[in-house]
């Protein structure tokens, strides 16, 4: 999305939140003054949806449910170009301002897919490993801290970063010839942790 469009979207959502875009965050109003408007202010929307892109989840679409103001549960399908999968998770948002910190935990699974097209010596993946790439699926989990910008009643932009865990099993046997010996590798299992990032848009209704 062009930068200008993002700026318009952000200013619109900040306006929806009743926040001056030139300020990073509005200070909380005094308790006496807030009591009356707060009573009149409707509850935060309970439902929303989001579209995120990042690693290791790929492109993820989520339905979001806010059972209480500080907690959200989400889940939906995701896609990583090679396969479809699903994910689910929870986000804790300590306060719902125009700029809000978040703590998210998420898990997901990608169904098995055929990645043999990756096995070309020129691509850096030895062609001999092709048999291991015929049936590859992975499971992942992430713990991420982030920021949400925008209205908790309308559009929000989100960015998150943290640590992810991935578990990948490749079924099959690869055979390579090295230094006069034949080496066969069967059903390798890879587990890894790595920094992860995610950015997305969400809309509440």
């Amino acid at each position: 999305m062009p930068i200008a469009a993002l700026a318009v979207l952000l200013s619109t959502t900040l306006a929806q939140a009743g926040v001056d875009a030139s300020l990073p965050a509005a200070p909380p109003p005094p308790p006496e003054a807030a009591a009356a408007p707060e009573a009149a202010k409707p509850d935060l929307p309970r439902f929303g949806f989001s579209a995120d892109v990042g690693a290791p989840e790929g492109l993820a679409l989520s339905a979001i449910w806010r059972p209480v103001p500080y907690v959200r549960l989400f889940g939906g399908p995701n896609w990583n170009y090679a396969a479809l999968g699903f994910h689910a998770g929870a986000t804790v948002v300590p306060w719902a301002w125009a700029i809000s910190p978040t703590l998210s935990v998420e898990g997901g699974r990608y169904y098995s897919s055929d990645l043999t097209w990756l096995a070309k010596d020129a691509s850096g993946v030895p062609a001999a490993l092709a048999p291991l790439l015929k049936d590859v699926g992975y499971t992942y989990g992430s713990l991420q801290l982030g920021l949400e910008l925008g209205s908790p009643r309308g559009f929000q932009l989100s960015i998150r970063a943290g640590l992810s865990y991935l578990s990948l099993v490749a079924h099959g046997t690869a055979t390579v010839n090295r230094s006069g010996a034949t080496v066969e590798l069967t059903d390798p299992h890879l587990q890894a942790t790595f920094p992860s990032v995610k950015a997305g848009l969400q809309y509440w209704f």
Binding site: A181, V183, L185, D187, H189, L190, A192, T193
Partner: protein, 194 residues
């Protein structure tokens, strides 16, 4: 919300306190099969190049040394910041049909010894005794002791093994494919690269 933040801080502290690296990649391969083709074994009547350990040398035992060049056969084990475990699950010695031997009926027992040059002659990690049910086998399957981690016996990427064959009948020199099967677990502390 303070509780959630406290939980997050506690989780981060626990991660920081773990002895395992926070950023790692671990590869587990339940079956790694390395075959050394056409290995020559001396006849039972041959003068042993090495005595079978432990001393005193047995007159009916002939030893053959083999080397697995793991640095090229399993390159991950010689990469920096990699720790690994390598466990032998089996060894098979299969007579080649194009060799001179007809069967291995004269082989009474086999022991696979790791690190034979070490003081004390290393350790036996696999052993075989001929079965009465198959007195003339053309291949020998030797069960491995997978409780032994062979990583500490790898020197400069080489794993030396010694095949000790005890004969009770004349056996000509023969050629066989030697296949070792391992379990491999390699862990890369790739946070060390950051």
């Amino acid at each position: 919300m303070r509780h959630a933040l406290l939980v997050a801080i506690a989780a981060a502290s626990l991660l920081a306190g773990c002895s395992d690296p926070a950023l790692f990649a671990q590869l587990e391969v339940p079956t790694v099969r390395v075959t050394l083709p056409s290995q020559s074994f001396p006849a039972s009547s041959a003068v042993a190049q090495y005595p079978c350990a432990p001393p005193p040398a047995q007159q009916d035992c002939v030893a053959t040394d083999l080397t697995y060049d793991l640095s090229t056969q399993l390159p991950i084990v010689s990469k920096p910041n990699v720790s690994y475990e390598l466990r032998l699950t089996s060894v098979s010695i299969a007579l080649r049909t194009d060799g001179s031997g007809t069967d291995l009926g004269g082989v009474k027992a086999v022991a696979i010894r790791i690190d034979p040059q070490a003081t004390g002659g290393g350790i036996v990690v696999a052993s075989y005794a001929r079965s009465a049910a198959d007195p003339h086998p053309t291949s020998i399957a030797v069960a491995g002791d997978s409780s032994v981690d062979l990583a500490s016996y790898v020197r400069s990427g080489q794993l030396p093994i010694r095949v000790e064959m005890t004969f009770d009948a004349p056996t000509p020199a023969f050629t066989a494919d030697v296949t070792s099967t391992y379990e491999l677990q390699a862990k890369v502390d790739w946070g060390a690269y950051l």
